[in-house]
C-alpha cells in the first residue's frame, strides 16, 4: 500500500506526471481510498483541473474524483458550487485563479468533486498549511499535465511520479524517459557544508555565486542567456557555482564553450525541478565532464504506470512493469490501472 509509506512521515506530498494521461488522477483516487481505510484525513488540492468528466485539452474521458466525509479540499469558487459532494465552507482565501477565488471546504457528505486549486507555488504552500490547520493529516497536491515544480522539496515533502505508455509508442523510449526523470529526482546532493552554508545566502539574495578561494556573487540576475558570463567567471581555483534559479541546456552549453575550468567546478542547483536539460544533452554533458549536484533531493515514493495510451495503443503490462522496476531498483513501480 502506498499510504503506509506516507503516514506519519510526510505532511504534504505531490503527484506529478510525465505527461497528460499518465494516470495521475487514478493514482490520486487509489491514494484517497487507502487513506480512507487507514483513517487518514486528507487535504486535497490540484494545481490544474481535476475530476471533470471530459478533458479540456484532449476531449477524452477522465476519471472522476470521489471524496469521503471529513476530507478537506481547496478548489475554486465556481467548482465548489458544482460539486456533488456536500461541503462546508471553512475559508474563502484571497487566492485568485481564472476560475474564481480558492475556497477551502470540508466534506460533510461524500461524493464526486472537481478540483482546481491554486497554481502558484507560494499559494500552494500556504493552502496546504491552512488545510492542515483545519485538521488534515496529509495534504495531497495533484499536478497538471507535465508540470513538476510541485515536487520541489521547498513545496512538498515527497512525491509520486506517474508515467505511462502515452510518452511514446516505443516502450524502450518511454522507459528511458522515465528512468531519466527518476535519476534527476534522485540527483546527488552536495554534502559539502561550506557550499551549503553559502548557498543559503545565495538563494535568499538570488545571487549566482562562484565559490573558490574567495566567494563571488556575479553581477547578473539570471543564468538564462548568461552561460558565457558564468563561464568567464570561472577561474583556476573555482570549485563550485551556485544557481538560485534554473539551469537550462543553453546555459551549460555556453558555459563550457567559454571556458575549460568547468571541469573542476560543480554546478549546484536548488533541486531537480530547476533543471531543464533533456536526456541526450545530459549524456553529452556527462561525457564532457560537467558535474551537476543539488542542494535538496526529491523524496520519490513510487512510480505509477499506465500501460495504455489515449491514442489506443498499449504496452504489455508485465514486461513494461518488470523492465521499469529493473531499472528503478528499490523504487516501487505500481500499475494503477490493474
Amino acid at each position: 500500500m502506498l499510504i503506509e509509506r506516507i503516514i506519519n512521515k510526510y505532511k504534504t506530498i505531490s503527484i506529478v506526471g510525465m505527461a497528460k494521461n499518465a494516470g495521475k488522477t487514478v493514482t490520486l483516487n487509489a491514494l484517497l481510498d487507502e487513506a480512507y481505510e487507514s483513517q487518514v484525513t486528507i487535504g486535497l488540492t490540484s494545481i490544474g483541473r481535476d475530476g471533470e468528466r471530459q478533458d479540456l485539452v484532449t476531449q477524452t474521458e477522465k476519471p472522476m474524483i470521489y471524496v469521503y466525509e471529513g476530507t478537506l479540499v481547496a478548489t475554486s469558487e465556481s467548482l465548489f458550487q458544482m460539486s456533488d459532494a456536500k461541503l462546508e465552507v471553512m475559508e474563502i482565501t484571497d487566492f485568485h485563479t481564472p476560475m474564481g477565488k480558492i475556497v477551502i471546504g470540508k466534506v460533510i457528505f461524500p461524493g464526486y468533486i472537481q478540483i482546481a486549486g491554486p497554481s502558484r507555488n507560494s499559494e500552494i504552500m500556504s493552502t496546504a498549511e491552512k488545510m492542515r490547520d483545519f485538521g488534515a493529516n496529509l495534504v495531497v497536491v495533484d499536478g497538471a499535465i507535465d508540470r513538476k515544480t510541485t515536487a520541489s522539496p521547498s513545496i512538498t515533502d515527497a512525491t509520486i511520479l506517474s508515467t505511462g505508455a502515452v510518452l511514446s509508442r516505443d516502450m524502450q523510449t518511454a522507459i528511458t524517459k522515465t528512468v531519466y526523470q527518476v535519476a534527476l529526482f534522485n540527483l546527488e546532493k552536495t554534502e559539502d557544508v561550506s557550499i551549503r552554508a553559502i548557498a543559503d545566502q545565495a538563494i535568499r539574495n538570488n545571487e549566482i555565486t562562484v565559490i573558490g578561494e574567495t566567494v563571488k556573487a556575479l553581477d547578473i540576475k539570471t543564468a538564462l542567456n548568461a552561460g558565457h558570463t558564468i563561464g568567464a567567471a570561472l577561474k583556476d581555483d573555482s570549485t563550485a557555482i551556485l544557481l538560485p534559479g534554473s539551469l537550462v541546456t543553453k546555459t551549460v552549453m555556453d558555459m563550457i564553450k567559454t571556458n575549460h575550468h568547468y571541469k573542476h567546478v560543480t554546478v549546484v542547483v536548488r533541486d531537480a525541478t530547476r533543471i531543464f536539460i533533456d536526456y541526450k544533452d545530459w549524456i553529452y554533458f556527462e561525457k564532457l565532464g560537467v558535474r551537476i549536484k543539488v542542494l535538496d533531493s526529491i523524496n520519490l515514493l513510487a512510480v505509477t504506470i499506465n500501460p495504455t495510451a489515449p491514442e489506443g495503443y498499449y504496452f504489455d503490462r508485465e514486461s513494461y512493469k518488470n523492465q521499469l522496476a529493473f531499472y528503478l531498483k528499490d523504487l516501487p513501480v505500481i500499475d494503477v490501472m490493474s
Binding site: 497528460k20 490544474g48 483541473r49 475554486s76 481564472p98 497554481s119 502558484r120 538564462l224 537550462v248 543553453k250
Partner: protein, 250 residues
C-alpha cells in the same frame, strides 16, 4: 431572448421557433453534377440532419464542387447550464487604462511579449502589441504609461523570460497559434515551470493568448489569464493594470 424559449432545450431558429433550420456550406472533391448533389445530401444525413436539401451548387473546376444546403437539426443544448469562465475585469478603453496607470500605478508598466517555441505566427501578438493594433484598436505600444516590447515569433521561452528579468517586467504575454499535437500545451507549461524555477512567479503576471486559448485552459496551465479570438489590446491592458493593483505590485 424571447420569453417562450426553453433555455434548457435550445435549437437553431430558421423562421419559426424550434424549427431547427440550419444552413451549410462546404466543398467536396467530386465533379459537379447530380451525383455530387446526392453525395452532399448523404453526408448531411450522416451528420444527423433531417430533410437536407441542396439549394445551390457550383462547379469549382478541377473536379471540385461547392454546395449551399439547408436542413433540420434534431439536437438541443442546455443553455441554462453553460458556464464559460471569462476574464473577470471591467474593460477600459485606451484612455481609461492610461488614466488608471497615472492615478493608481504612477510609473510605467512594462509588458514583454512574443509568439514562443516553434510557432511562427506573428499576426496575433502584433495585433495586441504593435503600435497600429488591430481592427481599429490601437496596440499596447501606443499606450502612454506602457512600455511594450514585442520580441516577435519563434522566441524560446528562456529568452523571453531573460528579457522580462532584464527589464523588470510586470507582465509576460505569450501567443500560441499552432496547436497540432498539443505543442502549445507543452510549450506553455515549460514556460510556467521555468518561471517557477527562476522564483519569478509571484512577481509577474502571466498571460497566454491565441485562437484556441481560453480562460479555463489558462487556469489548467497555471496562467493568470487566457485570451482567445476577438481580443484587443485594451482587454490585456485592463487585466494587467488591475492585477498590478490587486496583487500589490506597484
Amino acid at each position: 431572448m424571447s420569453s417562450q424559449v426553453d433555455l434548457t432545450k435550445v435549437k437553431p431558429y430558421g423562421d419559426t421557433l424550434n424549427d431547427g433550420r440550419m444552413q451549410f456550406s462546404f466543398t467536396l472533391p467530386v465533379p459537379f453534377g447530380d451525383e455530387a448533389d446526392e453525395a452532399a445530401k448523404q453526408l448531411l444525413i450522416k451528420m444527423g440532419i433531417e430533410e437536407p436539401s441542396i439549394v445551390y451548387s457550383e462547379d469549382l473546376g478541377v473536379g471540385y464542387t461547392f454546395f449551399t444546403a439547408y436542413g433540420k437539426c434534431q439536437h438541443t443544448v442546455d443553455y441554462s447550464s453553460i458556464e464559460v469562465p471569462k476574464v473577470d475585469v471591467e474593460i477600459m478603453d485606451k484612455y481609461g487604462v492610461e488614466d488608471f496607470i497615472k492615478e493608481h500605478i504612477k510609473r510605467d508598466v512594462v509588458i514583454v511579449g512574443a509568439c514562443t517555441g516553434t510557432d511562427a505566427h506573428t499576426v496575433g501578438i502584433d495585433a495586441i502589441m504593435n503600435m497600429k493594433g488591430f481592427d481599429g484598436h490601437y496596440g499596447l505600444e501606443r499606450y502612454h504609461g506602457i512600455e511594450a516590447i514585442n520580441m516577435g515569433s519563434q522566441v524560446p521561452n528562456e529568452e523571453l523570460i531573460a528579457k522580462a528579468i532584464e527589464l523588470n517586467a510586470d507582465a509576460i504575454v505569450v501567443s500560441q497559434v499552432v496547436t497540432q499535437k498539443d505543442v502549445h500545451i507543452l510549450n506553455l507549461t515549460n514556460m510556467i515551470e521555468l518561471i517557477e524555477a527562476e522564483g519569478l512567479r509571484d512577481k509577474i503576471i502571466l498571460i497566454c493568448g491565441g485562437p484556441r486559448i481560453n480562460h479555463e485552459l489558462a487556469k489548467e496551465l497555471g496562467y493568470d489569464a487566457g485570451f482567445g479570438p476577438k481580443t484587443y489590446a485594451e482587454h490585456v491592458a485592463s487585466f494587467v493594470v488591475n492585477q498590478i493593483v490587486d496583487r500589490n505590485m506597484i
